[in-house]
Assembly symmetry: C2
Homo-oligomer: 94 residues x 2
């Protein structure tokens, strides 16, 4: 079954699926500021919109637009600033 | 709010959002055969996986892979054959 996840009072929602043994989610983030913790390492790809992010060990913010990806280490965290509703793909790399 | 849609007994789920006045959904289809009707014209883009589709007025089937798009006319329909869970972006073009 396809599992729907909700975070931050429903301002972030995602659908989990498995494709050829890759675990992934597709989701949408509403405008807002968020902090996510990782278990497995992740590759995040912007599908539509933009994500401005700061990795746990980085003092700089970086903005990723449609089609661009960034990696997040496992057992880590990242902050997000989202200025318009944005769709993303999150692929778990373990 | 982000609206979650379910079709075909939960084998297709999507999340609706609006980005810069573009209405879109991101979703996942489990393995299966589906028929969808359109209201507005749609651009469908495969995010991860593949979709094999037949448009209402076409006797051929076409397969679209990750990153590829196809258009569906408004007030029409299309059939899908999905052989592995696949994520997609649907943009409404009205």
């Amino acid at each position: 079954m396809l599992k729907v996840n909700e975070y931050f009072d429903g301002n972030v929602k995602s659908i989990g699926f498995e494709h050829a043994s890759d675990k992934s989610t597709v989701g949408v983030m509403n405008t807002g500021d968020y902090l996510f913790n990782t278990g497995a390492p992740e590759r995040m790809t912007v599908i539509k919109g933009a994500l401005t992010i700061q990795l746990a060990n980085d003092d700089k913010w970086h903005t990723y637009e449609q089609g661009q990806s960034f990696h997040v280490a496992g057992d880590s965290s990242f902050k997000l600033q989202v200025t318009a509703p944005t769709a993303y793909l999150c692929e778990f790399l373990d």
